[in-house]
Every structure is written in C-alpha cells, then in structure tokens.
Symmetry: C2
C-alpha cells in the first residue's frame, strides 16, 4: 500500500476527531481562532504516521493511537499559529493566518489554548498508566525541543558562521522531533518493545531530517510552476538552509562577498538569484545537501527492517520516497 492510500483510509477518522476535540471550548471567538488553521486542511501527516506505525506493530492498533495522533496534530498546528506571529507571515495553507484574521493577542491566546487542548486529549489516551506517563514526558520534552529549535532558527538569522552540525540540530528539534514522536509512540501504544520503538524513533528522525533538507532543496531546484512560488524565494528571504550553511562555510573572497550581497536581498533579480545558486553549486553545497538527504532517506528505510512485512510497513517505506520526491 502506498502512503497516499494509507493516509486516505485514516483521514475521515482523523479529521472528525480533530474537529470534535475543539467542542470543549465554550468561548466562540476563541474556539473559532483555535480551529481556523486545522479547518483549513493540512496534510495530517503526523497523526497518520502515529496510526500507521501502531498498525505496523499490530494490525488494528492504529485506532488506539488516534487520540495520540490528534494531540500531535494540534501541537503541530499550535506551533504554526505562534510561528506565523513570530515571522509575521500572512498566509498558511492558502488562507490568511490566525493573527491576520483575528489579531495578535487572540492568536497568542488561541495557540496557548490549542497546546492545552493537546494535553487534554492526551489525558484520555487508552494506554497503560505507565505508558501515559512516558508519553507525557516525551511530548512535553518535544515541545521544549521545538521551542529550542525555533530559538536557534531565529538566532541563525543574524549569523553567517553556522556549522552544519548546528543546522542539523536545529531541524532535528524544529521538524524531526514530531516525526520521531509520532513513529515511536505510535509503536509504543501498540505495545512494541523498546528495541522496536527506538528503531521507529530512528526512522522518524532520519525521515524528518530528509523531509526538511528536501523541502529547502526543492526551493532551489524545482521549477516555479511545480513550486507554486518563485524559485529561490529562500535566498531572497535570507533563510539559512543547509545549502546556504555549506556555501557560507566554503565560499571565499569575492565569491563569498557576492553571495552575501544577494542572500536576504528581497529585491534581488531572478538573474542574481540564479547567480547565487551557481555560486552554491560551484562549492558543491547543493549537491552535498542532496546527498545527505538521500543518505538520511536510506537510513530511515533501514531502520524499518525491525518491522515484519505488512502493508503498513510498505506505506512507511513509501513515505520516505514521498518525502524526498514530492513536488508541490
């Protein structure tokens, strides 16, 4: 079974339970602000991953991982609501962001309430009490880690001397932690033993790292029609992607000066953006990032060797291919 089908058959349950979870919020304006982004339709990749991982351990256990998946999706959405305020972004999933539709104060408050709601959903998880305690520790540590990743990302904006290891730590925290938790705790809810769920965590980690690097890679290498936005918008925004980190580490003299003069220049012409991309290629920055993403994808797949064959295992393998091939 491919990942698209595996997500598709779980989608009705996920969307129904996700929207139902907001019903306990009585204040209408707050509830509307909270459900604005989840209602705009996301890829629901994280709850699907949790459910597929559970079913991969034992067919039928996916439903027991549904509440956990919902809490992950709510946390994912809450971080986006707050990130959009921090980055002052206007659009998300094709609709205006929460702080644009409402206001900053309501968006901060709605994000906080979403985070609380995620833990409220977790409190009803159908698992052994000791597992609940471990998942609670995992999820709360995860959100601290996501905040650390966000802080690193913001600090990187001012820096041109970022080490690749720092960059990888940042995306591991900001992006991969959610996939680590989805795969690992989905398996744990299905009573996987530690040696199995730790391998699932490894799968989530490498898949998440590949996902983020590939996301940034596409921005430089896909065509505008496929991307749905101008090629190289990350360059104009001065985003410190792995390719940029490599380039800043390797470029010297006038090449480095020239690259820095284009990076972060919102008014850079298409030719200048192309020039920056050529400079990155000249020092192997794009090629090496691509290789690393492919290497991570391989490692993610190898981690799945711990699983017996099943259509869910197939879907998890296909998810890795989706992550490094997807076109927007």
């Amino acid at each position: 079974m491919d990942i698209k089908e595996a997500i598709g058959i779980r989608k009705p349950d996920i969307e129904r339970e996700l929207l139902k979870s907001f019903e306990i919020v009585r204040d209408e304006r707050l509830r509307n602000a909270m459900s604005h982004l989840p209602s705009a339709g996301g890829k629901i990749l994280r709850p699907a991953l949790a459910m597929i991982s559970a079913d991969a351990i034992k067919k039928g256990e996916g439903k027991r991982a549904l509440a956990f998946g919902i809490s992950l999706e709510i946390i994912h959405n809450f971080t986006l609501v707050h990130d959009d305020i921090m980055d002052n972004d206007d659009l998300r999933r094709g609709v205006p962001t929460v702080h644009k539709v409402f206001d900053n104060a309501t968006a901060i408050n709605a994000g906080d309430a979403m985070f609380a709601l995620a833990f409220n959903v977790l409190s009803g998880l159908d698992v052994e009490h000791s597992v609940l305690r471990e998942i609670l520790a995992d999820i709360s540590s995860m959100v601290i880690g996501i905040a650390e990743g966000q802080q690193m990302d913001m600090d990187f904006e001012e820096r041109t001397d970022i080490a690749p290891e720092e960059y990888l730590e940042m995306i591991e925290k900001k992006t991969a932690l959610m996939f680590i938790n989805g795969a690992k705790n989905g398996a744990r809810i299905a009573s996987a033993p530690p040696e199995v769920y730790e391998k699932m965590a490894e799968y989530g980690r490498y898949m998440g790292l590949a996902f983020q690097i590939w996301d940034d890679f596409l921005d430089l290498t896909a065509d505008e029609k496929t991307l749905g936005k101008p090629v190289g918008s990350d360059i104009r925004n001065g985003k410190k992607t792995l390719m940029v980190v490599y380039a800043l580490q390797r470029l010297e003299g006038p090449d480095r000066e020239r690259f820095l003069s284009i990076l972060g220049n919102q008014k850079a012409s298409d030719d200048e953006v192309k020039e920056a991309i050529e400079l990155m290629k000249k020092v192997g920055a794009i090629q090496d990032a691509e290789s690393l993403a492919l290497d991570y994808a391989d490692r993610a797949k190898r981690a799945l060797e711990v699983l017996d064959d099943s259509e869910e295992k197939e879907a998890l393998l296909d998810l890795v291919d989706y992550v490094i091939r997807r076109k927007y």
Copy 2:
C-alpha cells in the same frame, strides 16, 4: 500559624525546585527568557497553597505536592509572559517584561516552552497513575479555561453592557481556576477523598473570586502611598472591574454619560477620577462589590470546615483574611 509563616517555611524548597526545573533547557537565550520572570520573585502563592493543602490533609504530604505546585507556578508565570505581550505591558514585579528585555518572538516562544516545562514537571509527579491522569485532565482544562477568561477579558474592552454573571465567569476562569486547582489537587495528592477535595476546590474558588474583586476594590479605595500607584488607575485604563460593571448597569442619563466619558480616558484628571468614583458610590457599585468579596471570603472559610484542626488549616483561614485585607 499565619499564612506568611506557612509560605515562608516552604519558600526555600519552592524557589530551589522552581529554578532547577529550567536546567533541562539547553538553549541559553531561551532558558534565560523562560526564567526571567520566575527569577524576579513572585508571591509563590499557588505552589504554597498546593503544599499547605496537602499538609492540611496529612502532615508531611506537602513535599509530595511540591512538583505539582512548581508546575502551577510555571503555568502562572507563562500566562503572565503572554498576557504582558497581549496587553503590551512594560513592567512586572518591578522589572521589565520578557518581551521588553528580549523581543516579542522570543517571549512568545519562551512562554510556550514554559508551558511545556510545566507538563514535563507534572510527568514526574509522585502519585498513583490514576491520579496523574486526573490531574493532567484538570490542569489542561484549567489552561483552556484561563485562555477563555483572557478572551472574555479582551472582549469586555469593547463592551459597556457586561452582566455581573459574565464578569464573575471571567474572573473565575482567569484568576480563580489556579486557586481551585492548587487547593483541590494539593489535597488529592495527599489522598483526600472526593468529598474533601471538592470542598477544597470550593475553598479555592471563593478565595480566588474574593482575591480578584478585592484587588480591583483596592485600586479605588486605598491611598496612593499604600497602592504604590495612582488611585483609580483602573478607571483611566477603562478596566471592566465588578464595580464598573455594576455602575454601567445602574447609572442612567447624564450620570452614565459622564461616567463613560471618564472611563478609559488616560488623561482624566484626579478630580475626574474622584467624580467617577463618587458616581459609582452613588449607585452602590463599590459597596456591593465589597460585600460580595466579603461574602465570598466567608464561604471560602466555611468550605474549610471539612478539615480537621491543624496549623495548616489555620494558615488557609488566614490566607482568606490576607486576600481581603492586603495592602500593597
């Protein structure tokens, strides 16, 4: 034992564990932003209440409620960090607010991480698993309620037709929920039976309501020297306190017009503020709010009849007197 002494003997443990909890945060800038407000020294009323309530059930159980109290204090501080951004306040506890020392984005992010930290501390709570699950549900519902209260408070800014019941619902959520949870779950951690911890919740509820009404009452009735700020600053800020809600409900014709012209006028003279206060007195708004606070204080004390005599019970009774007598 009076409340001051009861808090004092628990203060070293609370402050040590509170600051220690931030050590798991590795990002230095984020950790500093998170610990900024807790390090500025608060009244630590909420963790003390949890511990004293536990000790009132069974002497010595307070220490087991310490982690729970710490999580409450972190949540209290996280809501203040975010509230200060929403209200654009510059000072808190005599020091610049987190978003002033750092920036809005860091303060939003730090607040999120503090909230996550509170749940991380909760995950290590030394209680039966079923109690942990119930406390997790309680605390997450509490934060949703606090966000609803904050939303109501913001919505009230635009309104002049607030019913007293709406106002009381708002402060129950925004202020009293923390005291309800501190008293109730402190008792539950000490293995109090439901009929006892529900009475403790009632104590926390009435004490919290009295606390907030009295806070607003003092702003109009204490002298400037005692308050440490100008008398009636709530009037100039247009804050919808219970006194203002009563006044808006009862004043008619030119009196109401006049009152509305002063309310929320930052440039109102001292004489105008006095005039507004006189108008409130004319319709019994201040007297009725005072009576209600005193009535709630009585109810809080009566709820404590469920407890056997102890010095902790004395301290909890004294806390009620502190709440309705305190001068800043």
